[in-house]
Every structure is written in C-alpha cells, then in structure tokens.
C-alpha cells in the first residue's frame, strides 16, 4: 500500500494541509502518515502540536475513514528531516505540507522547513496555500 506523508502544524494552514492530504490519500487509496515533531530546543515552539491538538486531529482523521499513523514527539532531528525520513521509510508517493507567504529576508534568517522538504524530497510534494 502506498503512503501520503503529512507534515502537520497546529494552525489553520496545517488543517488545510491535512484536508488536502486526506483527499489525496482517498484518491490514491493510500495510507496517511502524520508527522509533527519538535527538537525541543526552545521554550515555545508554535509548530509543535500539543496532545490536545493531536487528539483533535486524530478525531477528524478517524471521521474520514483514511488509514493513518502518527509520529509525534521530540526528536533529535529537524522537523524537515523527520518528514523526509518518514517519506523515505514509508516509500511515500506524496508529501503534503502547508506553505505560507514569507518575505525573502524572513526566509534567510529563519530558514525554512518547507524549503528543505521541497528540495530534499524524492517524491512529489504538494504545497498547500491556506
């Protein structure tokens, strides 16, 4: 069975990406792998979903009837590496991420998880705009 990997972020953009990922999984008859990890190297990581966020997401996903697994927790690697890693391990045919608008300067300073995924992926990447 093929797989679709979702790089999840707990906000509107992430939910939009989740919706798109579910649609893609349905269409392809694939299973869904949800990835949300943090390096826990800062006090506040807004991209990291807490347990409440995750159970809400799981409830939504259960309603869709898609077969899914969740990778959630702290990790030594960056979020981008974890998403790519999950895609590799599950031989995913598609990675779905949310992509928000960023100024060039902001991207230079902060780096970009999305960019690393786009450049590093071996399969197609669907970048969802909220």
């Amino acid at each position: 069975m093929s797989a679709v990997v979702l790089g999840y972020v707990p906000n509107a953009l992430g939910d939009a990406a989740a919706k798109a990922a579910v649609d893609e999984a349905h269409r392809r008859g694939a299973s869904l792998v949800v990835v949300n990890t943090t390096r826990a190297d800062r006090l506040v990581d807004p991209a990291y979903a807490d347990d409440d966020d995750m159970s809400r997401l799981q409830e939504t996903l259960q309603g869709t009837g898609v077969d899914f697994t969740v990778h959630h927790g702290t990790s030594r690697d960056t979020a981008a590496e974890d998403v790519l890693d999950a895609a590799e391990r599950n031989s995913a045919e598609l990675i779905v991420i949310g992509l928000r608008h960023r100024t060039p300067v902001g991207k230079l300073i902060m780096g970009s998880t999305a960019q690393s995924i786009l450049l590093g992926a071996r399969c197609n990447v669907l970048a969802v705009k909220a």
Binding site: T38, D41, R42, L43, V44, G73
Partner: protein, 517 residues
C-alpha cells in the same frame, strides 16, 4: 521644596529626546531579558558594561535603570502565560497568574500585573524621591564605624539569608572578598596575592568576574543539563479589548496599594530583596481575602497577582535607596549598577546627592518615564515578548557567550582577560552545580575594598581597639537591627515553607507545575 525643584530639573534632562531614546532602549532590553529564560537583569547590565566607554554617565545609568525596571515587568509575563517565572521574584505570580491564564483570564492577569507594576513603581519612585535625600542627609553624618556596621549587615543578609544554605552563601561572599584583595593595597601600596604576576598586580576587574559568573557560568551550567523536555505551548490570552472587568478593578486596587507599601520598605532594608516582598504580599492578600475569594486562592485569584506584582516593583525602587544614599547594593542588579557608577569614578554614597545631584535626579526622573513606557509597551506588545521565547536555546546561549567574550576583551583589550573570564566562568559553573549562590560573591567583590578601607579607618581612630566597632550608639543600633532582621527572616522562612506546603495540600497542581517550570 529644594528636592522638588531638583526633581523637575531631573525631568528636564530625562525628557530630552536622546535620553528618552536611551530609556526606551533600556526598558525594551530589560523586558526582553525579563521574559527570556537564562538571562536576568544583572547579567544584562554586566554584559552591556562596554557601553560605559562611550556613553555619558547619565545616558548609561538611564539605560541600566531601564533594564532594571523592565526586567521586573518581563518576569511577570512568562510566569502568567507559561508558568515559568523569569526570575525568582515572579514565582508567587506564577501560582495564581498561570491558573488565571488557564481559565481564560490571562489578559486580566497580565493587565493587573502591568497596571499594578506601574502604580507600585510610580508610587515607590515618589517615595524614593523623598526618602532618599532624607536618608542621604542622615548618612553624611555617620562615620567609618557605622559604615562598617552597615556593610556587615549587607554582607550577612546577602550572604546568609538569600540562598538556601547559609554556609554556601558565606563561602561565596568570602570568595568575592578574596578576589577583591588581589592587587595593590590602596593604603600602603603593597602588592597582595599577586604572586609576582604583573597582570594580577592591577587586580581582577569586577566586570570581568561578574560577566564570568553571571554569563559564562550560566551558559556552561545550562549546557551541562540542557532541557529537552516537551515544549509547553502558551495558553493564548484573549483580545485586549476586555483586559479587566469592573470587578477586576475593584478587586485589584487595594492589593496594588498594599503591595506597594509592603514592597518599598522591604526593598529598602537588605532583608532579602523582592522575593520576600512578593511572598509577604501574597500571604497578606490570602489572609485578608474573605469567603468565596479566599477559596479562589490557588485556583487563580486576581489579588494573588495584583499584590505580589506591585510588591515586586515597589521593592525594586526600594533597593535604590541604600544603593544611592549609602553605596550599598542589596541585590545582584544593584551591585552591577554600582559598578556602572564606579566606571565613571562616581561613588554612590551620602555625598552622591550633593556631588552628582544632576545625575541622580535625572536617574530618578527617568524611572518615572521608564515606568510609563513599560505600561504602554507591555500590554499591546505582549505577543512580541512571547515570540522571543521561540529563539532556540543553542543560539541564545551562544549569543550570551559571544557578548561575554566581548565584554571581557574590552576591559583592557587583551586576550588574557578573556582567559580569566573562562577560568572564573568555570568556577561559576561549579558554584551553580554545588548550590553556591552567585550574588554574594559579586557583592563581596564590589564592597570588599570599601569595607576594608572603612574598617581600617575606624580601627585607626580607635587605636586598634575592636570594641570601638560596636560601641558608638548608631553602630550598636545597626547591629541590634541586624539581629532582629535575622530572627525575622528565619521566622519568615519557616512561614514561607509552611505556606508552601499548605498550598501543596490545597492545590497540589500549583506547586507541581512550578517545579516543572
């Protein structure tokens, strides 16, 4: 009336656009470091000491005062929204404030903390304006014997009362006194503990030691046990349109005023700084609350945020009284501000108001201004302050190290000083590891030379008879007060422990959360 005119004069200086900018910069940096974990106002003032090379004294002191006040505001933000008190004086705020935030009342908690801080800061600054000159007038008359007594009070309260272990606090103090001895004796020009080394003959710079202990020691210690736990996400507070309800105002204004009048005197006497003041305020609010409100304590009572936050800021102003009038710092940040004065060859003490009147009154005026800025800045910008918590720790501590290295190098522009920084930093690491407080060492280092000078003078007057040190009426009174402070503080510590265990019983979560933070 004279003082009032002098204060107006001070305002005319502090309101100059350039100085307003410096004050703004100071309060912004101060709030940021108050919010950030791992950096406190004392470390920041130490790290920014290089600015004393190029700014005029008024500008530098205004910046440091802004950092000092701003740090107090910033600490409350994290303790309410994240339950991680940015500094020890905010621990009590975390008890009630975080509960309020969890119940969706975070905006009200932030508002009562900020407004309370503003009111307390302003009232306490007014008190400072009138009390300080009075104390200074009195202090001009006291001689070396009384000075020795006052400094012993400062040593023992900072060394023995502030930390958890009396012996470790005193050991830290003694280490500071020892390092201060290295160099040339001011009275006889003899080299002491230099071991023939020309670098040691100049003495070890206070800033170097302070930066090493505060910044390098902290960075190494954090690196040794870097937290990799799951991240706590902020319970985001609501819109600012409904900061405080009518009832919140009603319940807050009395705690604000009570906190102010508890905090200021506690800050003035060297009896433990702002932590004691916040605890006293919390305890009294809890005692005064009736009926339903009493039950709210431990579950998010607004009085438990309003009172301690006010006490905290009032104490911060109180600490400036002994600093400016006697030259005695009672907290780590005050000690660093004393160093800043010394950089300009200004010695805070009884004569400060006469000799450097313009500077002091500009400083006091800038405190009023800074307070107002902090109120205006803090509420709308709370989102930005929370954003800086997203800085990854590796960058934060690497940045601290780079700043520390720069501060050390710029002391004499020689890499040898950076090496001393490293050595003392490693010492600071082990001190933290084994539970030795840092502040007493810095206070000992700064006051040590002054203390020795006054001690030798008073013994010279008495022909070497040590009894003379306790025989003047004022000195004797000071020693009696010292004993009273000690008895009181041990009683307070007992009370604090009792209350903490009580809170544990009533609301086990509150303290469990706090330990996590």
């Amino acid at each position: 009336m004279d003082n009032f005119l002098a204060l107006l004069e001070g305002f005319s200086v502090a309101m100059q656009p350039m100085y307003l900018l410096y004050a703004l910069g100071g309060v912004l940096v101060g709030t940021a470091v108050g919010v950030l974990p791992g950096i406190g106002p004392a470390m920041t003032v130490a790290l920014l000491m290089p600015i004393t090379y190029s700014l005029d004294p008024t500008a530098a002191i205004i910046v440091f005062a802004g950092i000092y006040y701003g740090g107090m505001y910033g600490g409350s933000t994290t303790s309410i929204l994240l339950n991680t008190p940015g500094e020890s004086a905010s621990i009590v705020t975390a008890l009630e404030g975080n509960k309020m935030a969890k119940a969706g009342r975070g905006a009200a908690a932030l508002a009562t903390a900020a407004i309370g801080s503003f009111i307390a800061g302003t009232v306490a600054t007014v008190l400072l304006s009138f009390v300080a000159p009075f104390v200074a007038e009195f202090a001009v008359q006291i001689g070396p014997t009384e000075y020795v007594a006052l400094m012993i009070v400062a040593f023992l309260t900072v060394g023995a009362l502030l930390g958890a272990s009396v012996l470790r606090g005193l050991a830290s103090l003694a280490l500071g006194l020892f390092i201060a001895l290295i160099g040339v004796d001011a009275l006889t020009a003899q080299q002491r503990y230099t071991f023939g080394n020309p670098f040691l003959a100049d003495g070890i710079d206070v800033v170097l030691v302070a930066v090493a202990l505060f910044a390098v020691g902290e960075a190494l210690y954090v690196a040794s046990r870097l937290r990799h736990g799951p991240v706590k996400v902020i319970p985001v507070a609501g819109r600012w349109t409904s900061w405080m309800r009518k009832e919140d105002w009603k319940r807050s204004w009395k705690p604000w005023l009570r906190g102010t009048f508890i905090g200021f005197p506690v800050g003035t006497i060297p009896a433990g700084g702002a932590d004691v003041a916040t605890f006293l305020s919390y305890a009294s609010e809890r005692k005064l609350a009736k009926g339903e409100r009493k039950k709210q304590f431990g579950k998010g009572a607004i009085e438990g945020v309003a009172g301690p936050e006010s006490a905290n800021n009032a104490a911060a102003a109180g600490v400036l009284v002994p600093l400016l009038t006697l030259g005695i710092p009672t907290t780590a940040t005050a000690a660093m501000m004393l160093v800043a004065f010394q950089r300009y060859n200004i010695q805070p003490g009884p004569l400060l108001f006469e000799v450097e009147g313009a500077l002091v009154w500009a400083l006091i005026a800038s405190l009023y201004v800074g307070n107002l800025m902090l109120l205006v800045l803090n509420l709308p910008l709370v989102g930005i302050w929370v954003k800086i918590l997203q800085i990854p720790r590796p960058y934060l501590y690497s940045g601290i190290l780079v700043f520390a290295a720069m501060g050390a190098f710029s002391v004499n522009f020689t890499p040898v000083d950076v090496f001393v920084l490293l050595v003392v930093g490693v010492l600071g690491f082990f001190m933290r590891r084994y539970g030795y407080p840092i502040a007493p060492m810095v206070v000992g280092l700064i006051l040590g030379p002054i203390f020795e000078d006054q001690l030798r003078r008073s013994l010279a007057i008495s022909q070497g008879d040590p009894v003379a040190l306790v025989s003047t009426p004022i000195a004797a009174t000071i020693y009696v007060i010292l004993i009273v402070i000690f008895v009181l503080s041990f009683w307070l510590k007992k009370r604090q422990q009792a209350m903490e265990s009580e809170v544990v019983e009533e609301a086990p979560l509150a303290v469990a959360d706090r330990k996590e933070g």
